[in-house]
C-alpha cells in the first residue's frame, strides 16, 4: 500500500514539475502567429502546386500577408477567391495575367514519322537520352507523358503520342514546363487562343521529311495578321504572346495555313479527339 501511495505521489510531483517547465517554455519561446495567415490560407485553393513560386499555399499565404506578393499571384485561385482574400486583408487584389500552358508541337503518331522502335523506360527524359527518342523530329513531343504525370490538376493528356493541354483544366501553375526535355511547354496568356504548334528550328524541307504538320515559315499567317503579332525566328514562326493585341481565332480562316500547324486551342483538341475516335 505504501509503495502504491509513493508511486502516485511521485507521478504527481513529476507531472507538476514538467507541466510547470512546459508552461514556462511556452511563455518564453512564444512565436507570434499572424491570425491573418491562416485566414488567407483557408481562402486559397490549397492545391500546393507551387505555381506562385512559393513552397506551398501556406508559404504563399504568409507572403501575401507580409505584402511580398499580391493575392492575384496565385495562378489557381479564381477571380472571386482573389477578391475575397484582398477584401479580408483590405488590400489591392493585384492585376495578373492568367496563364495557361500549351505544348507547342502538333506531331502525334499520325502526323510525325516514328523512325525507331523504342521499348525502353516510358519517360521523356530517359527516351530523349537514347538516340533522341523514337520519333523522327528531334524537337517534337516525345509523348511519354512526363508532363502529364507532373500536372497536379490532370490537365495534360497524352493523345496518340502527343501531350495535349486541356485549357479548361489547366490553371497555369507551370509545374509541367520544367519536365519537358524538349522545352516545348510554354506558359502563355489565357487570352491567346491561337498557337503555332511547332518548335523545330530546322529548315522547312527537313521538317517535312519527318512531320506532316510543321511550321515551314511560309509567313501566310504573318501576312494575314499584323506584323507584331508574330515572331519570326529563322525557319520558325511563333505567336507573339507579348503583343499588345493578341492574334484572334479569325486569323485561321484568313491565313489558310498550308500545313495546319496554326490552330486554335479548341480546334487542336477537336482534331486530336477525332483521330482517336473519342468524339462522336
Amino acid at each position: 500500500m505504501e509503495i502504491f501511495i509513493a508511486a502516485v505521489i511521485a507521478m504527481a510531483v513529476i507531472g507538476l514539475v514538467l507541466g510547470g517547465v512546459i508552461g514556462i517554455t511556452a511563455r518564453l519561446f512564444r512565436v507570434e502567429v499572424d491570425p491573418r495567415i491562416e485566414l488567407v490560407a483557408e481562402l486559397l485553393p490549397g492545391a500546393n502546386c507551387g505555381g506562385c513560386g512559393k513552397a506551398g499555399c501556406a508559404d504563399f499565404a504568409k507572403s501575401v500577408v507580409t505584402g511580398e506578393n499580391p493575392p492575384g499571384k496565385c495562378p489557381v485561385a479564381s477571380r472571386e477567391q482573389v477578391a475575397a482574400i484582398a477584401q479580408a486583408l483590405g488590400i489591392e487584389a493585384g492585376a495578373t495575367v492568367k496563364k495557361v500552358a500549351v505544348v507547342l508541337c502538333g506531331g502525334d503518331r499520325n502526323q510525325e514519322k516514328v523512325q525507331t522502335l523504342y521499348n525502353g523506360v516510358s519517360d521523356c527524359v530517359s527516351a530523349s537520352l537514347i538516340a533522341g527518342g523514337p520519333k523522327g523530329c528531334a524537337y517534337g513531343c516525345l509523348g511519354m507523358g512526363s508532363c502529364a504525370r507532373a500536372c497536379p490538376f490532370n490537365a495534360i493528356e497524352v493523345v496518340n503520342g502527343l501531350a495535349v493541354v486541356h485549357p479548361r483544366l489547366c490553371v497555369g501553375c507551370g509545374a509541367c514546363v520544367e519536365t519537358c526535355p524538349r522545352h516545348l511547354i510554354k506558359l502563355v496568356p489565357r487570352a491567346a487562343k491561337v498557337h503555332i504548334y511547332c518548335s523545330s528550328p530546322e529548315k522547312g524541307a527537313a521538317k517535312m521529311k519527318v512531320c506532316s504538320v510543321p511550321c515551314i515559315a511560309c509567313r501566310k499567317c504573318v501576312k494575314a495578321g499584323e506584323e507584331e503579332q508574330f515572331v519570326i525566328d529563322g525557319f520558325k514562326v511563333s505567336v507573339n504572346y507579348d503583343a499588345a493585341s493578341l492574334v484572334g481565332t479569325d486569323i485561321l480562316g484568313r491565313a489558310k495555313c498550308p500545313t495546319g500547324c496554326l490552330l486554335s486551342e479548341t480546334g487542336h483538341l477537336k482534331i486530336e479527339a477525332a483521330q482517336t475516335g473519342e468524339v462522336a
Partner: protein, 444 residues
Amino acid sequence: MTPNNSSRPLTFKGGIHPSKDGKALSRAAAVREAPLLAEYQLIVQQNVGAPPELLVKAGDELKKGQLVAKAGGFVSVPLHSPTSGKVKEISRIPGPMGVPVQAVIIVADGNDEWGELMPPLDWKTAEPQAVRDRVRDAGIVGMGGAAFPTHVKLSPPPDKKIDCLILNGAECEPYLTADHRLMVEFPEKVLRGAALLGRALGVKDIFIGVEVNKPDAIEILSSQAAGFGVKIVALQVKYPQGAEKHLISAITGREVPTGGLPMDVGCVVQNVGSTAAAADAVLEGKPLIDRIVTVTGEPVKTPGNWRLKLGTPVAEAIRFAGGVTCEPGKVILGGPMMGFAQKSLEVTVMKNTSGILLMKKDDIIQYQSTACIRCGKCLDACPMNLQPGSLSAAIESEKFDLAAKNNVMDCVECGSCAYICPAHRPLVQHFRRAKAEIRNRSKK
C-alpha cells in the same frame, strides 16, 4: 614497376562475357583504303568539351588537312579537312545522338591534295611540350569512343604525379576489330606513339593492355616493344576490360577513387588509335582526318576494316563493304554494348567512330522488362561495385537523391548489368536518366 602476377592474363572484378563476340567476321580483314567520295559531311563538334570555332564559309577552297575549325577552349581540339575541295555549305545533318548537328559539307575536287603539313618533329629529340602541342594541333581525341581531347590528358595539373601510361588495346567490345588490325598492321606506329606520349608525360612505365583473343597483336607488339621501353600486358577476355578504370585495376592493381580520375592514382590511359594518330602528327605532321573503322555484322556482305575519312556517310561505308545481304534490324555506331543505335544512314564517321555494326532483324529482341526479382546477378556483373537493382528501383520512383547517395554517378554505363538481367530491366537507361537529372540539379 611490373604488372602484378604477370604469368596469367590480368583482369578486374566483375564484368561479363558476351556470348556472341562476332570478331571472327572482320578480324582477319586487313585495313583497306576507302575510295574517294564526291562529298564529305564533316560534323563540326567531334570532341567532348567546348565546341570548335568554325573558320570556313560556303565557297571556300580547302586543301586536305587544312584547318576547318579551331579549338574553342582548352578542352577542345581543332578540326581539319579530310580532303581537298570546296565548302558547299554549312548545314545541319543527323547527328549520332539522334539530334541534328552542324556540319561542313565539302565537295571533293578529286585530287585529294595535301595542304601545308605541320613540320615533322624528330622522334628522338621532340620536347614533351612540343609533343603535347602537336597532339592538340592535330585535333587528336580519344578514338576508342569517348572523344575526350588527348592533350588534356597529357597535361595533368602539377600536384598530380603521373608514373604510368597505359595504352588501351583491349578492344573488349564485341564485333570491333579496328584496334586489333591497327596493332597487327602498324605496330611500329603504335609503339612510337606510345614512347612519345610517355615522354610527354615524363613516365618510365608504359603498358599496352591487349586481350588474349588477339594473340597475333600481342606477339607482334611484344617482339618489337623492348626497343621502345614499352611492356605488353596480356588481359583476360572480359567486358568492359577496356574501360580505363578497369584497365588500371587489371594492370597496376590500383583503384581509382569514387568520383576521381585515373590521374588520381598516377595513371593516364590512352586508346591505341589515338596513340598511332599522335605518332602520325608528331613524326609526319599529319592532322587527324581519317581513322580505321570496322564495318561489320551478319547482314554486311564483306565485313572488314576500312580507313575512312572523317565525314564519310554511314551509308557509303556500308556500300564499301559490299552492301547488305539481308535487311538489317539495327545500325549501331560503335560496338553493340556501348554504341549508339542510329535512325539515319546520313550520319557520318567521326573521330570516335570505331565501328559501324549492322545487326540482323532476328538478333534484335524487343524485350518486355519486368520487376526486379532480386537475383543479384547485376551485383556480380557491375565492375564499379554498384547495386544496379536497388538503384534502378530508386530511380523508377524518382528518388534521385537516394541514387546519388548510392553513387549512381560512378556508373560507367558499360551495360553489363542490363546484359545479364534476367528480368530485362533497362538498367543503364535508368542510370543515364538519373545522371542527367542529378547533373541538371547541381547546375541550378
